[in-house]
């Protein structure tokens, strides 16, 4: 793993309560450069490796470390590929096809090369209804793509998050479309007979041939008693996840870690289970040609919204939830009502504001996994119909019980704030409605809804507000170390060049993330920061490398600091020129600040939430 500078123990002087320089003696930059160049040289050997190892498998243990590490080494976000298709197509035929493809297209895997002509083998995926267009990829195509991507993502601060609308994009595309091939990240769900269930881009039916190809690869490897987890092709990673009769595939050149991409497929599967339960497995047992798409009718926005959240919602990789900052007393008051509701035979009662928790409660011994909470709020937020009236809908919490439905009562108090009451009883609608009326009365009486609205408007913690003033900075810092970092970072971010932080409380299963502030403002910048965090998270939690406590990493975009203790995890991003000692000091201050306000930013003393 490209861990540039990490240590398995905190510095000798501290006992874990103070964050000290993890590695004061070595220069992290030289170290990381060395690792970087190593990785780059590994990448050079990738193409040929992939072409003869297209059915190569990785076991989910530590064996794929190399793969992931080299993925990390891929720099730059521009794709000019579209070659995944050929790679994938070549795989399903087994070794014979590999030989023929190698002979005919020796440099097939090089990104930016022309794909093999449709007539060069019996195996191209380009014929069929999709028209057999021979597409050539040139370098300048990539820049066009960049421009279009920018338009899609929205490159201005005002556009992020709010401008994104759920729903399926580019339905007219199929696997022969150049634009489809250039999409940076594809998600597919298909059945083990090769019938398409979901595709992020393009029309599922037009992609039936592509879907069949994916099934052929997976089943072919399965037939040999093996499993395909990851195929690398140049900058593209093809990640596979098999869940019984359901196959999930991600094709990405986003340079995210294998672990996180796999985690995204897991969540995608969970979202499907939330809508249908695992009873779908039985449908396939009874009837292998079972077509699932009609059952998922109308849920495209749910999936696209989840996929979108992979690039902005830290809950998708931290596996924790976040609360809306609120005065302690108000959250407690809300919690008391929710607890009473649960006492009346309701399994879970939640008051949420967008994807943030206002308060929640569970019946005795019932606990809600943060991933279930993520999938539940995504489902409710992205389904328009919940907003129009009070609803009662079957829902499955995959981590709670993936086999069966619960019943969810959903009601929106305003555009952002809504209550979800979950019960096992299908006849409980009227009871739940009464519960909601009781809750609403309390919310109105104590004015909670307007406090909630104010909290949304004000936002959460900001790095600019960190209690380190300039006087202190210039007077108390020692050895003049502040002369570089702070001067450079004036006007951007918080003190000493801190740009952003995330603090995850391990016992509470909750995290708090600072608001985005300059210079990280656009959706694109946010995405890039989150991807840096994801890598940091993956490297800190890599089982093969043993537990790490601290990590300091610097590249041309950020200085990243991570600190893991038994109680919390802190992730912080600084200006790349930030001073290391000051950055560490700032992290300590962030932790102190979070502790100072923990009663407002975390839900304390909720019903037992950990497992």
């Amino acid at each position: 793993m490209a861990t540039s500078d990490s240590s398995s123990s905190p510095s000798s002087s501290s006992s874990g309560t103070e964050f000290a320089d993890p590695n004061p003696s070595t220069d992290p930059e030289t170290n990381s450069e060395r690792v970087q160049s190593q990785l780059e040289s590994m990448n050079l050997s990738q193409p040929s490796e992939v072409s003869d190892g297209s059915t190569r498998t990785d076991y989910s243990g530590g064996d794929d470390q190399d793969e992931v590490a080299s993925a990390n080494g891929n720099e730059g976000g521009v794709i000019n590929g579209g070659l995944v298709h050929e790679v994938v197509a070549g795989a399903s035929g087994g070794e014979e096809i590999d030989a023929s493809l190698r002979a005919e297209n020796p440099v097939e895997m090089e990104a930016g090369e022309e794909p093999p002509s449709p007539t060069s083998s019996g195996y191209d995926g380009e014929r069929g209804s999709s028209g057999g267009a021979t597409s050539t990829y040139k370098a300048d195509d990539a820049s066009e793509d960049e421009i279009r991507e920018a338009n899609v993502d929205g490159d201005t601060a005002s556009q992020h998050e709010a401008a994104w609308l759920p729903g399926k994009r580019h339905v007219d595309e199929d696997d022969a479309s150049i634009s489809w091939r250039k999409r940076k990240k594809h998600f597919f769900i298909l059945s083990n007979s090769g019938k398409p269930i979901y595709s992020r881009y393009g029309d599922e039916h037009k992609l039936a041939g592509f879907s069949a190809t994916l099934q052929a690869i997976i089943s072919f490897v399965e037939n040999g008693g093996d499993r395909v987890n990851l195929v690398k092709a140049g900058k593209h990673q093809v990640v596979f996840l098999v869940k019984g009769p359901i196959y999930l595939v991600c094709i990405s050149c986003t340079d995210e870690t294998y672990e996180y991409l796999r985690g995204q497929l897991d969540l995608l599967y969970g979202q499907m289970i939330l809508i249908l339960t695992k009873s779908i497995d039985r449908c396939f047992e009874k009837n292998a040609k079972f077509d699932m798409t009609p059952l998922l009718g109308g849920t495209e926005a749910v999936f696209s919204s989840l996929v979108h959240s992979f690039s902005w919602n830290p809950a998708t990789f931290l596996h924790a939830y976040t609360c809306l900052p609120l005065p302690y007393a108000l959250r407690q008051a809300t919690g008391t009502v929710l607890q009473e509701i649960c006492a009346s035979g309701v399994l879970f009662s939640l008051l949420l504001c967008k994807h943030k928790v206002v308060s929640l409660a569970g019946a005795q011994k019932a606990s809600l996994h943060p991933d279930d909470l993520l999938l539940l709020s995504n489902f409710v937020m992205s389904s328009e119909s919940f907003r129009t009236s009070e609803s009662f809908s079957p829902i499955c919490l995959p981590r709670y019980n993936s086999q069966a439905f619960l019943h969810a009562y959903v009601h929106f108090f305003d555009d952002d704030t809504y209550v979800i009451l979950l019960t096992t009883r299908s006849d409980a609608f009227h009871h739940l409605k009464d519960c909601r009326i009781r809750l609403e009365a309390v919310l109105l009486k104590s004015n909670i809804l307007s406090v909630v609205q104010r909290s949304i408007a004000e936002g959460g913690m900001r790095v600019e507000d960190l209690p380190i003033d300039r006087r202190r900075r210039s007077s108390t810092t020692d050895q003049g170390q502040d002369t570089v970092g702070p001067e450079v970072s004036v006007g951007t971010g918080g003190p000493f060049g801190i740009w952003h932080f995330m603090y995850r409380s391990i016992y509470l299963d909750q995290y708090i993330s600072s608001e985005l502030s300059p210079p990280v403002t656009s959706h694109r910048q946010q995405k890039s920061l989150f991807r840096a965090y994801q890598k940091l998270y993956a490297s800190m939690h890599d089982k093969g490398l043993g537990p790490h406590k601290t990590q300091y990493r610097r590249d041309e975009n950020y200085t990243l600091l991570c600190w893991v203790t038994p109680d919390f995890e802190l992730y912080a991003a600084f200006d790349p020129l930030a001073d290391k000692a000051m950055a560490i000091k700032t992290c300590n201050q962030v932790c102190q600040r979070v502790k100072d306000v923990e009663n407002e930013v975390f839900l304390q003393g909720a019903s037992p939430f950990s497992w």
Partner: protein, 206 residues
């Protein structure tokens, strides 16, 4: 739901190597024919949208390799097929004799829920060759075989000239559709309070 429900049908094409499976498919999907023989490796996948009785559906056609060395792919490829098309060359007795093997192999590997009534379609291809003079399998013989296997529909085609190809695939689509018609209601369990705790302990993944 905004649009009418669409159906996807998985169609497997089987038969000895060189009988014209790929040519039939190319003629049907792309309206093209090439005299040059290229062996299919593993399988080819094509899709075609078809309208049938004002319903739109998609044929997902699995054109498999006829060579014996690919037979191990069977299970993976045949799973969940809606229709199986058997192809032989009317000028080759061996390709006709092998139909029994192909059919049985398919039924074993795909293990459809109702093997007796699984929809097959038989195609005798290359009727154009040598003006029909080199033909060794008579239509009568082929029809007798079809009758003995539960009245499999039979078509004689020329992938080269496009004769009867469209008709054959129309029939394939119709039969595949028929077999997919009866679908039950989707009724998963709901948690009942008594069992939820017990199930939870096994379902917990963390």
């Amino acid at each position: 739901m905004p649009s009418r429900r669409r159906t996807l049908l998985k169609v497997i094409i089987l038969g000895d190597s060189g009988v014209g499976k790929t040519s039939l498919m190319n003629q049907y999907v792309n309206k093209k024919f090439s005299n040059q023989y290229k062996a299919t490796i593993g399988a080819d996948f094509l899709t075609k949208e078809v309208q049938f009785e004002d319903r739109l559906f998609t044929l997902q056609i699995w054109d498999t390799a006829g060579q014996e060395r690919f037979q191990s792919l069977g299970v993976a490829f045949y799973r969940g097929a809606d229709c199986c098309v058997l192809v032989y060359d009317v000028n080759s007795m061996k390709s006709f004799d092998n139909l029994n093997n192909w059919r049985e192999e398919f039924l074993i590997q795909a293990s459809p829920s109702d093997p007796e009534n699984f929809p097959f379609v038989l195609i005798g291809n290359k009727v154009d060759v040598d003006g029909g003079n080199s033909r060794v399998v008579s239509e009568k013989k082929a029809k007798a075989w079809c009758a003995s296997k539960g009245n499999i529909p039979y078509f004689e085609t020329s992938a080269k000239e496009g004769t009867n190809v469209e008709e054959a695939f129309q029939c394939i689509a119709k039969n595949a559709l028929k077999s997919g018609e009866e679908e039950e209601l989707y009724l998963p369990d709901t948690i009942d309070v008594g069992t939820s705790n017990q199930q939870r302990s096994t379902g917990c993944e963390c």
